[in-house]
């Protein structure tokens, strides 16, 4: 299996495992972390999309790229943006979890019964 195929498989695996982690979770902290796991799949996927064998890091000196090929810098910018978004969302959801623990007295999603029907 080539490196690219491995990377794509890992990316898909992480997204699915993260999502299934949310389905099976018995603790909201775990739910939020599982969501982050699903998102790390997207990082791997984007990096894999820009990968090139033998290419170097996309840091260009003042003299230009030279003769060595570089990996796609665009996807790396996308991943950085993605990480920022993820940090915000994770922090917000964890803050909500803390507050749920205070107000509901539990962090087990099975025990949250305020909304139904």
């Amino acid at each position: 299996m080539t490196l690219t195929a491995v990377a794509w498989t890992v990316a898909g695996w992480l997204v699915v495992v993260g999502a299934l982690g949310i389905v099976r979770s018995r603790n909201l902290v775990q739910t939020v972390v599982a969501l982050s796991v699903a998102q790390s799949g997207t990082y791997v996927l984007l990096i894999a999309a820009g990968f090139q064998r033998g290419a170097t890091v996309p840091i260009l000196g003042a003299g230009g790229a030279g003769s060595t090929p570089v990996v796609d810098p665009l996807v790396q910018a996308l991943v950085l943006t993605d990480i920022v978004v993820s940090a915000t969302v994770t922090a917000l959801l964890l803050a909500l979890t803390v507050q749920i623990a205070k107000r509901h007295g539990t962090v087990d999603p099975d025990e949250l019964r305020a909304l139904r029907g």
Binding site: V15, L45, A49, V75, D82, L93, I100, R103, A114, R116
Partner: protein
Amino acid sequence: MTGADVGRVDVVAPLAVTGPVLLACLVLVIGRWAPRPVVDALALVGAAALACCGGLLVAATSPGDAVTWLGGWAPAPGTHPVGIALVADPAAGLLVLLVGTLAAGGLLFSWRYFASVEARFQALVLLFCAGMTGFVLAGDLFTMLVFFELMGAVAYALAAYKIEEPRSLQGGLTFGVVNSLGAYLALCGVGVLYARTGQLNLAFLGETLAGAPPDGPAVVGVVLVLVGWLVKAAAVPFHFWLADAHAVAPTPVCVLFSGVMAPLGVYGVARVTAVVAPGVGTLAPVLVVVGTVTAVLGTVLCVVQRNLKRLLAYSTIAHVGLFLIGAADGGSRTWLVYLAGHAGVKAALFLLVGVLLARFGSVDEIDLHGAARTGRAPDRLTGALFLLAGLALAGLPPVGAGLGKAALEESVPGVLVPVVVGVSVVTAAAVLRAGLRVFLGVGPRPERRVDPERTSGEGEEREMSGRFERVPTTMLAAPTLLLAAAVVVGTLPLVGRVGAAAGERLADGTAYRASVLGPAHEAVPVEPVAWHLSGVVTGLGTTVAAVVLALVVLLSGRVPARRRRPVRRAVGRIVLGLERLHSGHVGDYVAWLLFGAAVIGIAVAAPTLG
């Protein structure tokens, strides 16, 4: 297009995105010491200015789309773009106008609503607006996604704004997890499309894919992106979060959630389908099926609710299903008009429920039986507006929702007309039933009972201190103005003309690609959406049907929770089963999301790829 127009859009389009962000920062800074009315006025003026920006965009883009490359990063002819484009067309302008109008309505309402509100609330609303305008104006997939996530993150915070209330925490968390996962699936789709084409710009992406018949990566990428947008649109089976989030969010926020945030998902679907995936022939039928199921399920669950906010939320789900049907199958000319009319009416209804919460401390239909029959003028006015909005939802001419409904009926295929009529009649009957019960005390007083299967409307935290003996003028002015705006949508011929042109151009991906890649197509005239005799007659007919249905339900003494007759038992059991699916459990909702994504993926990909 003339140079003057391009110059104007070059300023207005970026301003519509950055303006609210800057204003939000300003509001946060001065909110520490400035008196509350100053902060409120600043935010309100900002929202109104945003609406004006939307109007300017609509006017400037009527001859053709306007493309703005941010920072002057326009691609040289024949090269790949590196910069980010904002593409303004009449549909985007119309939605910016709608965002600004609804935000202004919500902020006007909250002028006296929250007792201890800090500038945080106004800042969050402005950021939320920026996320939505960025989403509609963005010309490339990743920028769309970034604004999608900004809109999402702010929306989670707004939904869980009442952080001391257990319910709103649960609703906010569920909303956050489900929508974030949808966004990550969309991001996977963006990655796959980028790997396949090397493009992120919608027009370049569409141009690259248009050259060949759809292949595996292209179809998978498009489906994943569409699943992300459908989660926001609350299409079945991704809809579970919407009712929970709407039931718990502060009332002024519900206005934006219901009026424009969920429909923006449909906008995203229409845009991406038209520009990127015109070659995937199975998409449209699949979207029509999804829309139909959404409309029917939303209607059924709307009827059985007793929490007024949830009732309205399920009605929104049903209407989003109709918009999806319109956008996917023949209704592209009409659905934006319906969207605008529906937004005004639904926003007014949510705000009137907010007035009830302020006056009586409950949003439960059974609890409030006859409670608002006080004889005071403001309560009478609230009741009159509520019932009028209910009639408008049923399609009463000349309100905008009725115009949109009539036009959609004319433009969708015959088999789908009963769905459009059914949604209008039944959801409006549910609203009228609640209104007649609460404001006029019609029908026998239902017995109070604890209902383990349903969310009641009791125990909702008041959004201001103490009970309001008098309703502040601003609280009644906001729904009145929004309802008046819905009437304007229905009566002003300009709206029908612009809405029709906007919808047609939104569906025309070829023209969109041409305007970005050049040379731009000349905009073709479109038949405006207007009242026809048949539309007026069916509108009156559905209004009467909704009133009759509501009265029959009320006078037969049936409470949503009770089903006595054996004939109804089978139906009742099915409905109860459907209600139990809405368990409030985030794991269940994510399982449905995965299931829905798989089914939609197989349904689209299998016939296309063989």
